[in-house]
Subunit: 329 residues, 2 copies
DNA sequence: TTGAAAGCGCTAACAC
DNA sequence: GTGTTAGCGCTTTCAA
């Protein structure tokens, strides 16, 4: 159906190899011949079959990215950054959403590896990564981002300072006078959620009260109900620390203007336009993606050094919601 | 480096073809033999080289998606829907961002076609699609979504009712008593922006005033300045219709609470939590993606009918900002 | 039920 | 400067 190099060759009256040379920009082709070949290529609408090239050369010039959900702004920001670095290195990005499902994560990685991606960037959903062993051994480098891999493998990792960010948030609320600070977090099986809980707990010290902690997959019904329940306690929270962007939004939607001091992990668009502005601990999704993919391309360029474990800083952005005093609620 | 079928075959003591049969689940293999082969596969960590399979069979089981920017919630929502339909059909999604650059759009399509995607879904950045001719002729179907292709090709198209949505927005504002309604739109070279301008103009009739129209690529400096200039006119607008989600946010950021009736094209998260809530004409990005990819898979399943041109409805969601009367500003 | 051989479209290695 | 040949890892075809 589609024209092949052979078709181009006979159309241009040259040998296969000459067409290959022209297509690949190899030197040592007579300009006139090259022009004739190019004309044939245009006339036939030829485009090289990458599968054949890959089969021969081994390198696919593709990179695989596994994230949780591309429609989540955090991951789409991260994905865009990875894509840009990939383009800069002449690579195509394959990406897929795991939906927080370890089985699907595995399947995506398997699919990518079967397509022989040159490298992998993974936001893991599961915590057993022994399945990656053969791929790593076969020379396919992997970089984990946002969350570390299980103990079975030791690969480059780029995380943010989860515990530190949580401590920052809680300390900020304590400085405003709060002693009853709730934590609404994601499911404790998720690394970042567990780390943020640790930071929250450390910063609270003796003020820690398990009745003020809710950790579950974010959905309005569950987390919202937990918050309502806490607010109905005899000694209710006067402030809340939300464990990620989605939970912050869920919380705002539950509160609907009721005053409660709030600091959220993750920045989000429009946080500054709400009333009051939402104080957040901001991480840099694009930065995570950029650093992770640069690490990967360094590996692809031949870096065989020990696995690197990087941590990116977070910063607190005060906008109003986190500066309300306990008496305001 | 990586084990091949041949390696598995010799490890299991069978012929290449038997391994192939097991890997592909073909019938007619002795269960005992199959088990032995599977053991060898696990022991070696074998995974089939898809490039080789594709080279032989022709079908890649991949679909290419070209969008404007994956970090834009509109496109990431669309992309996620396409991904889900692709998964349901056992396909991998290749996607890339054109960044509103026709050259990059072309390059992405070329890359995808060189990788022999089975089909294409395109949000075009340019308006000349003659370059797609050879691919279409070679049997690679394409579906255009959000914006139509240039006149050179006639392919399946899924759009939303841009002009109708704009009329809806303006009529809504007129009903609230507004006669001076500004339009802040994206660059007029973009199909959706041009269509929305048409609808705006049609709904305004004799009230149309070019001094109240700004059309340019969204950025705070430019569009914000245009709006400020309009607000400084002797007969300033009392309402504004913003042409897409990004422009709505830009406008909110420019106004920073100053009262001005507002209806925006595109819904966005938190629109309901702002004060006042932002009235929007909502389209359904996931619906666009889903319908477009279902159309594509129908083509891949063999549908050879004439090109379809679908239009998805939009709906107005009143939240407060569009119901303010002229005297409020 | 199993296997041998040919060939998908390309590039690497080596003629000429 | 150009062409010939072999072979990447798999599936298809045909034979045993």
């Amino acid at each position: 159906m589609r024209p092949t190099m052979k078709d181009v060759a006979s159309a241009a009256g040259v040998a296969l190899k000459t067409v290959s040379r022209v297509v690949n920009g190899e030197p040592g082709v007579n300009p006139t011949t090259a022009e004739r070949v190019r004309a044939a290529i245009d006339a036939l609408g030829y485009s090289r079959n990458e599968s054949a090239r890959v089969l021969r050369q081994g390198r696919t010039a593709t990179v695989g990215l596994v994230i949780e959900d591309i429609s989540d702004p955090f991951y789409s920001g991260l994905g865009r950054a990875v894509e840009q670095v990939a383009i800069a290195h002449g690579c195509l990005l394959l990406s897929g959403s795991s939906g927080e499902n370890p089985e699907r994560e595995r399947e995506l990685v398997r699919t990518f590896c079967a397509r022989r991606v040159d490298g992998l960037i993974v936001v893991p959903a599961g915590d057993d990564h022994s399945y990656l062993r053969p791929e790593l051994d076969a020379g396919t480098p992997a970089v984990f981002v946002d969350r570390p891999p299980g103990p079975e493998i030791d690969v480059d990792t780029v995380l943010c300072d989860n515990a530190g960010g949580a401590r920052l948030a809680v300390a900020h609320l304590r400085r405003a006078g709060h002693r009853r600070i709730a934590f609404l977090g994601d499911s404790p099986s998720i690394f970042t959620a567990a780390e943020r809980l640790k930071g929250y707990r450390a910063a609270l010290g003796g003020l820690f009260d398990p009745a003020l902690v809710s950790m579950r997959a974010p959905d309005l019904a569950g987390t919202g109900a937990d918050l309502e329940h806490m607010l109905g306690l005899p000694d209710p929270p006067t402030a809340v620390f939300t464990g990620n962007g989605r939970l912050t939004v869920t919380t705002l939607r539950t509160l609907r203007g009721r005053p409660l001091a709030l600091v959220g992990f993750d920045d989000f668009e429009l946080a500054d336009l709400l009333t009051p502005g939402v104080t957040v601990v901001a991480q840099d999704p694009a930065g995570l993606g950029r650093v992770a993919s640069e690490l990967l391309f360094r590996r692809l360029a031949g870096d065989r050094g020990p696995a690197q474990h990087l941590q990116l800083p977070v910063r607190l952005i005060a906008r109003g919601s986190g500066e309300q005093s306990p008496s305001d609620s």
